[in-house]
């Protein structure tokens, strides 16, 4: 009122912002914005080098900023805090920093896969319909320049925006920030799924499905947010926890809110029964984008879920835990059993990701320090493995593009022993065989769940792992003990970008399986602050 009447202005407080803590976020978002400008001002043939240089340097730069902050004398804190508020909008605590590091490394590898143009003429994101079919037809009419610059370079700023959204999502300390971050990470992903539509129409189908279902899930999240605000009178995670502890209010709003909120989060993490988009989108999206989605979105979604459950709903855990157990069982069962019937490699890995999401829910439900660190480690390990696996999938090609049908993979070891061996290591890691990161991750998660009194769930999880191991091993058997088809696919010799991404992912899978202690120590360095 004072303001409207021109009276003395009551100055609003300036929120405190810890720039050093959020520098990685700022770098990624600024680079995304600069990338959009580059798209606008640069001529066509300079866009690819400029965008690759910008996005790779910015992600590395953000990683360096993160490393400097972490090795310095840092304290877990919240920032973007209004003057009189108890906590800020972003929590830069040890789990958030661990997840940021995970996201930046995985994002960098995914960017390498996206930037590669050696396995497919013009890259996976062709901007001209004329390039459809690659070398099979029509290319002789193209000039060298058209082939060279055929890539739709918008994918780089989009990736950076999605990455920034994921990082914000992991650190969001109130539900509104979390929702905004959810949209910032989702909208670029919808677009990226459709970027191969000039080459394969199924890419467009994937984008539409993901967009419609994703918007639906966001609406659930928002509804849950509204109900929780009605219950607690605040969107802050810590305030919801306080409200849930000491009141005689009806719990209806609280649990209805949590349920709807959880649906939004579980959808993003592709946890069954909210998984229906996963196989179609993983199959349809360009393979580098699928790699990015499978690795990074899962990290972000479970980072957010962990924070919400631990900070806001720890005191009521005995009421919702049984519900979430059912979700975990359903997810593991769907992933393990439906995965058996898949004939397509990308769909098979998609169902595997649904099963893994079930294991992750088991870890996230154990609201102990062990549960937190085990889940964080699992996310790191799974991210590396699945990213490298999709990298390998992009190499096996026939004249019509990627040969993702399992029959085409028969006898691959005879044609290309190295690729087959790499893929075998990754499949064994997904199955959770010892000496791979998958084993350590599963072991840590199941141990944490056992010590928190979830023995029945662990038994079911072990059965599900055993069933899922069958379809991973089936591919290994197919690659090694089958005769190659006479007109089978060729294995493209990848360029340096894809080679690096696959090599780093595979080596990390082995290192985290053989000497996991250092990463487990990082993951258990501290808990959430709020």
């Amino acid at each position: 009122m004072d303001l409207a009447q021109g009276g003395p202005a009551t100055a609003l407080g300036v929120p405190s912002i810890d720039v050093a803590a959020v520098l990685p976020l700022l770098i990624v978002f600024t680079a995304g914005a600069v990338g959009v400008l580059l798209e606008a001002v640069l001529p066509r043939n300079q866009r690819w080098p400029a965008q690759v240089a910008l996005s790779l340097t910015s992600v590395v730069g953000a990683g360096v900023a993160l490393a400097v902050y972490v090795t310095g004398d840092f304290e877990s804190t919240t920032t973007f805090r209004a003057e009189e508020a108890s906590s800020g909008a972003l929590a830069v605590d040890t789990p958030a920093l661990f997840l940021w590091g995970t996201l930046l490394v995985l994002g960098l590898l995914a960017l390498l896969l996206i930037a590669d143009r050696s396995v497919e003429p013009g890259g996976a994101f062709v901007s001209k319909a004329a390039l459809r079919g690659g070398a099979a037809g029509g290319t002789d009419t193209l000039t060298k320049e058209q082939t060279f610059t055929g890539m739709q370079t918008e994918v780089f700023p989009l990736t950076l925006f999605a990455l920034g959204g994921m990082m914000t999502f992991c650190a969001a300390n109130d539900l509104l920030t979390m929702f905004i971050a959810l949209e910032v990470l989702s909208l670029p992903l919808y677009l990226m799924c459709g970027l191969a539509r000039r080459r394969r129409l199924i890419s467009q189908e994937a984008a539409v499905k993901y967009f419609l279902l994703g918007a639906f899930a966001s609406a659930f999240f928002l509804y849950g947010l509204g109900l929780l605000y009605g219950y607690a009178g605040s969107v802050k995670l810590a305030d919801i926890a306080v409200a849930a502890q000491g009141t005689d209010r009806s719990d209806t709003l609280l649990f209805a809110g949590l349920g709807l909120l959880a649906i939004g989060l579980l959808f993003k993490g592709s946890v069954g029964p909210f998984h229906t988009w996963t196989p179609d989108v993983y199959q349809g999206a360009p393979t580098p984008v699928t790699a990015f989605m499978a690795a990074c979105t899962k990290v972000a979604a479970f980072g957010g879920l962990l924070r919400v459950l631990t900070v806001s709903f720890e005191s009521t855990s005995w009421e919702w835990r049984s519900v979430l157990s059912v979700v975990a069982v359903v997810s593991m069962a769907i992933g393990a059993i439906l995965g058996l019937t898949q004939r397509d490699v990308k769909r098979m890995i998609a169902y595997s990701s649904i099963a893994h999401a079930g294991f992750l829910v088991v870890g996230a439900m154990a609201l102990t320090e062990d549960g937190l660190s085990a889940t964080l480690f699992y996310l790191l390990a799974y991210g590396f493995t699945t990213l490298a696996a999709f990298g390998v999938v992009s190499l096996v090609r026939d004249s019509s593009g990627e040969a993702t049908d399992l029959s085409a993979w028969a006898g691959l070891a005879k044609r290309s022993p190295l690729v087959a061996a790499t893929f075998t290591v990754l499949l064994l890691a997904l199955a959770g065989i010892p000496l791979t990161s998958g084993f350590v991750g599963k072991f840590a998660v199941f141990e944490a769940a056992l010590s928190d009194g979830m023995a029945p769930l662990v038994v079911i999880a072990l059965v599900a792992s055993a069933i899922a191991a069958f379809y991973y091993l089936r591919v290994v058997v197919l690659m090694y003990f089958s005769e190659p088809a006479p007109d089978g696919p060729a294995v493209t010799v990848p360029g340096v970008f894809t080679t690096t991404a696959i090599a780093v992912g595979t080596i990390a899978t082995l290192v985290l399986g053989i000497v996991p202690t250092f990463a487990l120590d990082w993951a258990s360095a501290g808990g959430f602050v709020f």
């Binding site: 100055a11 914005a33 959009v36």
Partner: protein
Amino acid sequence: MPDTATAASGLGTYLPLVLLLLLSFGFAVFSVTIAPLVGPKRYNRQKLQPYECGIEPSPQPVAGGGRIPVKFYLTGMLFILFDIEMVFLYPYAVAADAVGMFGFIAVTIFIVAITIPYVYEWARGGLEWD
């Protein structure tokens, strides 16, 4: 305003809101009934379209296999861009002296961030109709 007698009696605070609701409803009914009675009736092709402008959603346009040109949506998105910018700039303009330098920097960043997609659309030909 807050300390009047009506405001003190709980729900009385909402009286202006109810009045506004009644007023807008009455205005809508009045406009819809009075317009056909007193207005001139000179029909033409444009007049028969919804909003008297824009794309005809029905029957489907023959050209392009029943598709609606994407150009309309590019312009529409641009409108939303500036619409949202305005929505945020109004409260800032009213409270500019209260939020001080921090507010100024925040709004500057906001304007820059919103200008970037505009530059992109302009440079990449989104504003060229044909």
